[in-house]
Amino acid sequence: MLEHILSILIFFPALAGVMGFMINKESMRAYGVSVATIEFVLSLLLWFSFDNTVSSMQFMEQLPLIPSFGINYILGVDGISLFIVIMASLFTMIGIASLTETPNVKNMIITLLFLQMTMVGVFTALDGIVFYVFWELSLVPMLYIIGAWGGPMRIYASVKFFLYTFAGSLVMLVGMLFMAYLFYQATGRWSFALFDWYRLVLPENFQLWLFAAFFIGFAIKVPMFPFHTWLPYAHGQAPTIGSVILAAVLLKMGTYAFIRFSLPLFPDASVYFMYPVAVIAIIMIIYTAMVAYAQKDVKQVVAYSSVSHMGVIILGTFALNVEGISGSVFLMIGHGIVSGALFLLVGVIYDRRHTKLMSEFGGLAHIMPKYATIFGIMMMASVGMPLLINFVGEFLSLLGFYAQSHMLTLLAGVAIIVGAIYMLIAYKRMFFGEVTKEENKNLTDVNRRELIALVPLVIISIWLGIYPKPILEPINNSVELVVQTMHNKATTEDAKMRIPNISGVVISKTSMKEDH
């Protein structure tokens, strides 16, 4: 089974989703939870069978789809993607388990299962076209979740989300086609396989254009400033479960793709664009943190804080050294856990009060102490308190980028100040002071179903904050390979200098055998 575990992970939820149409409405929840749990257990199995010492791809599968164009169904997982896959299945599981009273719950669960297929597909696909297919397919369930279960402006928000990201990915598709064409010119055969592309050393001016094409697709997904405005609408209108999965997993597709595609394919262009991208990242960090501070709606605070944190992830990625990239991958996990938990927490109060305006709350710590405690822990994780999950990633990302630029890191470090400002003020507005509103006086504290979702996330936040090794080590090993690939491929003087040469890393045979 292990040799096909990735295919199982991708298609099991989809198949179960199709079967779901035959399940009757009452038992749908139980069905959904069991499917998601099996999927989660399978993803854990993947982790346990994963060899931490190997830095290249594992559990690879290959099946020709359209051989004449070099399109193959290639899957594989390494330290960079492994944990995002696990996180995707974790969030689907706790998302379904903690689903509140939802109209059409059956459709919701089926949609979530389809979404899970696309998420796992994106993070395991190693063929350009297969990657693209999953990447685009992931839009559909999300469109449906926002459009069918969202707030008053759901149609606007969902269409905006769909068209914006779709437009970006089309540019990326053009880039991919061109990449395959270049490969054809160089070798005389078509290929969309990522490892074939890795071996292609492109002249710098080609790299710049291709980098730009991929960049637009990824940047909108992340979302990077100034392409971020779909996100507040999507979060503002999406139901809790939609926001959780969007923030925790879907946004990571963009940052993951930077590491999987942009960096190793275009090392010279990555160095060339390092400063502009870093400047955008810093704008994301400071500007959106200030916008977050100006918000009146707590969900928007968390939404904008997501953009701000994604800025740190981008910065770490473009540090182009092992510390920075490992940190950014780690922060992807950290941000997923923390922002997912924060959106769940916002959902808790929204279910009770049907409002997200902070001015409606105040003094909640008196009435809902458990809720206040969990929110407090997650808030502290979000502002990067050491021994909680986000700190490790933030620290490494900034540390890594410091090797590239002192001033820019100093500016990016402002993240720890502005992040504390909007988070603490929001927390004070919601939880501290006297209870002023009559409606708040009889609120119930978090119930069991909510705890099922929140407690694991709290435990993970603390565990990985204190002992990040289980996931930092495999991430680090795989990142070393990426950095070494980049160093080897770099052609310009500047790139050779800025991308460190990692002694001792043996480039194992990463490229696929040319067997067709």
Partner: protein, 638 residues
């Protein structure tokens, strides 16, 4: 020995987690007792470690496990018990044991009793991490941890808006400094290749001065936040909104001295850059004077003591900056004893006075609170540096350092500040304990604190009196690691003149304070000439610095954030929608063409045909005469 290290480190954590179990329940006396016992066990373990060091035992260095490992970066949870950290451990565990016991009484009627002990013990744990870590990242864990606990404890009474505001202020202001610290850490890593003290410091000897200066400055910026040095000092006075035991432990004895600890710990670095050291010393002397001046007129008992803490931190930085690290550490220790005592005494007074803080509304309390009166008087004597109390030995050595290093301005400022210190301390004592019983106007019936609280305070009382005798053994202990030299002024006559002169000056300041406030009769209402003088107003409003921060930092930040949001909606998002709308509109406007009406369609067909034909003609002609066109264009200079 390792066993004791782990007990000292983790007993507070266990205590915190144990207390946290009962956070949501009703008050339970045993929570406080168990927490105090666990902290006491940490104290005992620290004492054993101290005696080990004193008896010439080896420096204990353990690595518990790896924390982060990526690329070349290796950060373990490593702990070191050397002469510096063991001193800090003793101070931290001793004061916190006392504060824990004291709090059982002080927080007696508070419904957050259990929660209080959870936070307080968590603070002790963070502080132990801070002082015991063997690397900068571990230090940073403790650094942020004490910040977090300080946030939780300042805002402990979270129903009070002013308390939570102060908590956030403290956290955010510390974060500003932490950025400096973080950058300092990055610099250390990329220049020395390690964050562990035993690797990083030796490697610094090979770096050039400008890099070292950068490292020194950025690390010191971190220290400025925690130790509330100008201009990041405003949070400390506002932090007095927290419960008084918190002020005694965190904002007097331990956390605020973390910055001093950092400089002492990095002595190998700062010894290489005397210019930065001089800057630190100058800033320290400035803060000593600056804070003392604000304490002169303040009408909030706790704030006066807070400013006095600030002022004493200035003394410590002055000593550390001048390279007298052991003197700074010694003053840190002595100060922890008498300042914690002073705060706890103030806590008793607050309890007696039903949380009244204005000393002008008290008076004559010595009749009802004899024990507290004696303790606060002795603590004030120690603070003023009167022989033979603790402050005399530690503070006088700092003065000697400044004198023997020939920094006469720093020396002068520090001596003058010593006089101010004596004045405001005894202004407070005189107003609270002597004179008419002004509290009667307000209908308050004061009472002495529980006996066990006074007993708990007594070790501090004893130490405030006798800590001077530890100077010699202390010096011998840290000499090796801090490369300490004794500061002796060669001429005995000079020494005696300095000693006696300072003592006289300070004594006169005390007498002056007593004379002025001993028999104070009325509560000032702001009408007297002094209260309307410019200097008084300036000092009373803390040089208008908090006002300036509010007006010129916080308000603009609010406004800019609001503007940013508007930009986000009206510029960034509007342009996205604009592009989308352009497509919609194009469709909207051109749909008339597809009306299905045959004659309209034919009309458009003809238009299209003509358009295409003319294009074809233009291109055809252009191709035919391309050479000529090129010539003409080049002739035009295109």
């Amino acid at each position: 020995m390792e066993k004791y290290l782990y007990i000292a480190l983790f007993a507070p954590l266990v205590s915190s987690m144990f207390s946290a179990l009962f956070t949501n329940g009703a008050k339970k006396q045993f929570v406080g007792v168990v927490a105090s016992l666990l902290i006491f066990s940490a104290f005992v373990s620290s004492s054993i470690l101290l005696s080990n060091i004193l008896n010439g035992g080896e420096v204990l260095h353990v690595e518990m496990m790896t924390w982060m490992k990526s690329g070349n970066l290796y950060i373990p949870f490593g702990f070191v018990v050397d002469q510096i950290s063991v001193t800090m451990m003793m101070v931290v565990t001793l004061v916190s044991t006392i504060v824990h016991i004291y709090s059982i009484g002080y927080m007696d009627h508070d419904k957050g009793f259990n929660r209080f002990f959870a936070w307080l013990s968590a603070f002790v744990f963070s502080m132990m991490i801070l002082v015991m870590s063997d690397n900068f990242a571990g230090l940073f864990i403790g650094w942020e941890g004490v910040g977090l606990c300080s946030w939780g404890l300042i805002g402990f009474w979270f129903h009070k808006n002013i308390a939570t505001w102060a908590a956030n202020e403290a956290f955010i202001m510390n974060r500003i400094a932490d950025l400096g610290m973080l950058i300092g850490i990055f610099l250390v890593y990329w220049n020395t290749g390690s964050l562990q003290y035993h690797l990083a410091f030796p490697a610094m000897a090979h770096l050039d001065t400008s890099t070292l200066t950068m490292i020194g400055i950025f690390l010191f910026i971190g220290a400025m936040g925690k130790s509330a040095q100008f201009p990041l000092h405003t949070w400390l006075a506002d932090a007095m909104e927290g419960p008084t035991p918190v002020s005694a432990l965190i904002h007097a004895a331990t956390m605020v001295t973390a910055g001093v600890y950092l400089v002492i710990r990095s002595n190998e670095l700062y010894s290489l850059i005397p210019n930065v050291g001089l800057f630190i010393a100058s800033l320290g002397a400035f803060v000593a004077l600056f804070a003392a001046s604000m304490a002169l007129v303040n009408r909030d008992m706790k704030r006066v003591i807070a400013y006095s803490t600030l002022s004493q931190l200035g003394y410590m930085f002055a000593a550390a900056g001048l390279g007298a690290y052991w003197v700074a550490l010694f003053h840190l220790m002595a100060h922890a004893f008498f300042k914690a005592l002073l705060f706890l005494g103030a806590g008793n007074v607050m309890h007696a006075m039903h949380d009244e803080l204005d000393p002008f509304k008290m008076g004559g309390l010595k009749k009802v609170m004899k024990g507290t009166w004696i303790m606060m008087t002795i603590a004030s004597l120690a603070l003023a540096g009167i022989f033979p109390f603790a402050g005399f030995f530690s503070k006088d050595t700092i003065l000697e350092v400044a004198f023997s290093e020939h920094h006469m301005i720093i020396y002068g400022v520090l001596v003058f500040t010593a006089g101010l210190t004596a004045f405001y301390s005894f202004r407070l004592v005189a107003l609270i304990f002597h004179g008419e019983e002004r509290y009667k106007i307000f209908g308050i019936h004061p009472h002495e604190a529980y006996k066990f609280m006074l007993i708990a305070m007594s070790p501090l009382l004893i130490l405030a009196m006798i800590a001077g005798i530890f100077q010699e053994p202390f010096f011998n202990m840290v000499e090796e690691i801090l490369g300490a030299m004794e500061y002796h002024i060669h001429s005995h006559v000079t020494v005696w003149i300095m000693l006696v002169g300072t003592q006289l000056f300070v004594g006169l300041a005390i007498l002056f304070a007593y004379k002025k406030y001993y028999s104070w009769g009325s509560v000032p209402d702001g009408s007297s000439a002094m209260e309307n003088s410019f200097i008084y107003k300036l000092l009373y409003n803390q040089y208008y610095i908090p006002f300036a921060y509010k007006e010129y930092v916080m308000k603009p930040y609010n406004d800019i954030s609001a503007i940013m949001w508007e930009i986000d909606k009206k510029v960034v998002d509007a342009s996205v929608d604009g592009i989308a709308n352009a497509f919609y509109l194009t469709g909207e406007k051109t749909r008339d063409m597809q009306s299905g009406n045959l004659s309209t369609m034919l009309k458009w067909m003809v238009t299209g045909l003509v358009g295409l034909l003319s294009l074809a003609a233009v291109f055809g002609i252009a191709t035919r005469y391309s050479d000529e066109i090129t010539t003409i264009l080049s002739g035009l200079g295109v």
